[in-house]
Symmetry: C2
Subunit: 194 residues, 2 copies
């Protein structure tokens, strides 16, 4: 997952004129609007897409080489790119960060992270082979048994939440689809949905 | 759902300098980069969030007052705003477009629309009362029995796909969660996942 890069639209990306913050006609929120060319510059949350890559009962995780969370562990995931689907993006990130080829399974979790304007989406996936390697954004990539998951060294709460839900479902013999939200204040993970 | 508003970042939104399209260090795609302030301007797909608002077995739909799809029918939905969750956004859009208050149910569909850089996300929902009315973006709001749904006059393929999947699930006695993608070329709906 790359670092958050969020900025207000102070200058019009279309024509370069300074923008004016006001509510455009027919809208009900303040937007950055261009008084020169008329463009309205909406800012919306961004999807982050990734996988739970399985090799038998083991899960492939990546040790991050970059901030945020450098040196901590994550599932392969990153910002969805234009022109791709959520599933294709999740497979692309798995290949880029973990050098791993997967077949995609069902959607597993969709987790809102409103304080950073993101929605994190994880799919179940199966490794096609055990031929994986750390990509540029990873220091190390390895398979973990459930008992060995480094819970205290996980980079993102969406990842620890997804893994906890996955292991719970697996223990119960039924893998579902989960939606929840990560709260900004609480130091613990808050699962507000199911 | 508001009209698509997508543009390249020709001028830096941070400092107003003309951008330069190249692959930034550590990346593997061309981005609009600012040679003056160093900002990299990523463009990502945007989530559209909405509901399937139920009143008994009937579904609340909105006749659109604006383009795209003016005069056609839709489920209440629109672009997710920063600072909200997918579920809160879906309830907000239901209130804004249909004047309807709902309790939110589980995620029902997540449909990729890669040619317009969107992901459409629909939740099941139950109307709290039958007190609804057309919002600014709607000409009319009404409840439909399944048999009366105006299939030939639906504004978006993500909506017709969601409704078809919903009625199919309901007939089968089990409402699930569905992911699929809308293809750009094919004139028919392509459901590529489950």
């Amino acid at each position: 997952m790359p670092a958050l890069f969020y900025c207000a639209v102070k200058y019009c990306p279309v024509c370069g004129h300074p923008t004016s913050a006001h509510i455009p006609p027919g809208d009900n929120r303040v937007r950055d609007c261009c008084p020169q060319c008329g463009a309205v510059h909406y800012v919306n949350p961004r999807p982050v897409v990734g996988t739970i890559p399985l090799w038998g009962t083991q899960i492939l995780m990546c040790k991050r080489a970059i901030e945020p969370g450098r040196g901590k562990w994550t599932l392969p995931a990153g910002f969805m790119e234009v022109g791709e689907t959520t599933g294709n993006g999740a497979m692309r990130e798995t290949l880029e960060e973990a050098g791993a080829r997967v077949t995609l399974g069902p959607l597993f979790s969709m987790i809102d992270v409103p304080h950073v304007q993101q929605v994190h989406i994880f799919f179940q996936a199966k490794l096609l082979d055990a031929d994986f390697r750390a990509g540029e954004e990873s220091l190390e990539v390895r398979l973990f048994d459930e008992a060995d998951v480094p819970w205290e060294e996980i980079a993102f709460r969406t990842v620890s939440t997804t893994l906890k839900l996955y292991f719970r479902d697996r223990a119960n013999g039924q893998i579902g689809t989960h939606t929840c939200a990560i709260e900004v204040i609480a130091p613990t993970v808050a699962v507000t949905g199911a």
